[in-house]
Amino acid sequence: MDMKRDYYEDVAIFTSRWIIFWFCALILGLALFPFIADKFLKTYYVYVANCIAVNIIVAMGLNLLVGYTGQISLGHAGFFAIGAYATIVFMAKLGLPFVVSLFLAASLSALFGFLLGLPALRLEGPYLSIATLGFGLTVTQIIGRVEYFGGRQGLHAPELVIGPLHLDSDISRYYLFVLIAVLVCLFARNLVKTKVGRAFIAIRDADIAAETMGVNLTLYKTLAFAVSAFLAGLAGGLYAFILGYIEPEIFNMLMSIMFLAMVVVGGLGSIFGAIAGAVLLTWLDLTLRNILEVPFLGEWLKVMSRSWFSITGVSNIQYIVFGSIMVLIMMFEPLGIYGLWLRMKKYWKTWPF
């Protein structure tokens, strides 16, 4: 365990010089990534990175709610949709600049998060998950019926312009998305290390005990929902520009479940876990469709499918693989990828002795 000698050491974002060094190395790596991808790989990987960055932002928000505050949400696709729609509507219909629209959209999403947080004060576990699930489904139903939001015909994202910059390629958008994702991570780390974060954790561990200690349950539970929704809305606003076109069907229940899966697989209650979960699941989601083209394995899967199942359904194998990976991680490491990381650190601690 790390020894803390005073309060400020405990709340510091970077606990040692080494961490600052590795953080700078990471930032440098992220900054160089598009050039490397452009030179040696394909810009397709920059697109994948953009999707990952957006999902990291959502996972970070959801982790604050699920992992730190102990509340559950199966409705984050709803906040995501509010963010995406509001950003586009503010920009295209009201003519506001991108940064303002994005912030307003995220705030609107936070407002809805606050409202959803009110019933959450009295609900727990499965009841809360049903309530949030209902919220997520309702949002897309309502958006789909309002002509102003394009109804089921969807909306086009306008051009992404910040001041003099036209972000019209994956690479230029990458810098914006990654910048926001890094800021969000720092924000989340700062939050959980200070008063608010400690209140969240106290509520998660025992809410009655927390209340007797003077933690205002109403304030902090709704705050957790609002912050979480704010980040989901922020990510939604960015996602709209990845696709360039949004319609209500995109923000379905499966999306909410994916978000939750990222947090759980990554490791509940850790910043690292949210990042790792978002990276792994997004990457799997986008690349498993190619599983049949993997040398040997793909052919083998096809042969097996032809003789035992139905060859037209061979694509479903990707979901079996996807599910198995999640089940295996949870079975052998309930703390998720974060748990694996902790074990690895422990194993190498005394190396080379």
């Binding site: 394909k42 789909g144 360039g244 037209t312």
Partner: protein, 396 residues
């Protein structure tokens, strides 16, 4: 001696270098291959439409077996997007950058298609026959995007005209899905009925998630309609029919090409679908045209054993036909610009779908990129057989 070695090395190097360069400058075309791509949902909510992409694959197999097109085999790249636009875009980007696809064909769904449209159009990659009847494809028209799925609006017009002029119906009602598909149909029905001095006696919206349609059918019954247009999904069409039967409400039902897979609809509804009139934009899978028989033979030879010979599968053939025809007309000298100009010159091209004509690109005329404007009207007979009621109708 030394000079000779240098020469030899130089010759060898240049050989290697030139061998590495493609003989044809156009992306996705080599001396022996043409790379064509398509996405299709093999999993997820729209998996039933995955057979479109597999149908196209069988057509290409058939063409390759005969030696390809002007000595070039078609290399077909297809992937599963699960009807998730983010995955569609990922797959298209990856194939476009890794392989360099020459042109895209088909591609199920409005949302997945809309996610990739700008990407393909910016790169000037031709895309033929998006598999959904959306107005998005031609408003505004794009130089490299050729739509051949008939507009839902047109199908509604054809049905209303048939109901009023041929069958002498007076009170037409409509049940429509509350989205682009349903609303385009509604628009068409209203326009056509207005021409005859009529209007819809009831307009009843259905949401995709609705499961109980009793109130909807009750309203239909109250309106006293003698003809009801069903602009809904196959599931809702069947629920409506079942509910109406229980309520002893039996008007003339009419529906869209989306519900024109008669054997399938008839089997699920246990015979309720008999007598329903629909539009169709392609010859039925069991029709006797020589081309359809040829396709059936290819299906027997190349398709997976558990594949079903249905309308979605044959649609996969139909959507690729304009592309194949244009590739034939291009000859050996194949470039994207050439392909676009050959497509533009297609006039009344007839495959297994209605006749297809495009026109030179004009930003102000969306119809220059809407190839097919023809449908025919058919009726479901006992056992799910198709009785064709009209010839191909050109509606505008």
């Amino acid at each position: 001696m030394k000079k000779r070695i240098i020469w030899a090395v130089a010759t060898l190097l240049s050989l290697v270098l030139f061998a590495g360069l493609p003989a044809w400058a156009e992306e996705g075309v080599t001396d022996t291959e043409i790379h064509i791509g398509q996405w299709g949902p093999q999993t997820g909510p729209a998996a039933a439409w995955g057979s479109v992409a597999r149908g196209t694959g069988v057509l290409f197999d058939m063409i390759n077996e005969k030696g390809g097109i002007h000595g070039r085999k078609i290399v077909y790249h297809t992937f599963d997007d699960g009807y998730n636009p983010a995955r569609t875009l990922a797959g298209v980007k990856q194939l476009q950058e890794d392989v360099g696809v020459f042109a895209w064909v088909g591609g199920v769904g409005t949302a997945p298609g809309m996610a990739v449209k700008d990407y393909l159009m910016e790169r000037k990659v031709p895309w033929i026959s998006p598999s959904s009847g959306s107005l998005h494809w031609i408003t505004p028209p794009n130089k490299y995007l050729f739509a051949s799925y008939p507009l839902y609006k047109m199908e509604a017009k054809a049905l209303c005209r048939y109901a009023v002029e041929i069958m002498g119906k007076k009170s037409v009602a409509m049940v429509y899905q509350n989205d682009e598909y349903g609303k385009n149909g509604l628009m068409g029905a209203k326009e056509e009925l207005a021409k005859h001095g009529l209007s819809l006696v009831a307009e009843i919206p259905v949401e995709k998630s609705d499961t109980d349609l009793k109130p909807h059918v009750m309203n239909l019954k109250k309106s006293g309609a003698d003809t009801v247009l069903l602009w809904v999904s196959p599931k809702h069409a069947l629920i409506t029919l079942g509910t109406a039967k229980a309520m002893k409400f039996e008007p003339q039902w009419m529906s869209t090409s989306t519900c024109s897979d008669y054997p399938y609809m008839n089997e699920i509804s246990q015979g309720l679908w008999v007598g329903v009139i629909t539009t169709a934009f392609g010859d039925g899978p069991d029709s006797f045209g020589p081309l359809m028989r040829e396709y059936k033979a290819a299906f027997d030879k190349f398709a997976a054993p558990d594949e079903r010979w249905g309308t979605f599968f044959t649609a996969g053939f139909g959507f690729a036909e304009p592309l194949v025809e244009a590739l034939h007309r291009c000859g050996r000298d194949l470039t994207r610009e050439r392909l676009v100009s050959e497509l533009e010159q297609l006039q009344y091209f007839r495959g297994i779908m209605g006749r297809i004509s495009f026109a030179p690109f004009d930003v102000n005329s969306p119809m220059c990129r809407q190839g097919q404007t023809e449908v025919f009207i058919a009726k479901c007979a006992e056992g799910g057989d198709m009785i064709q009621l009209t010839d191909w109708l050109k509606i505008d």
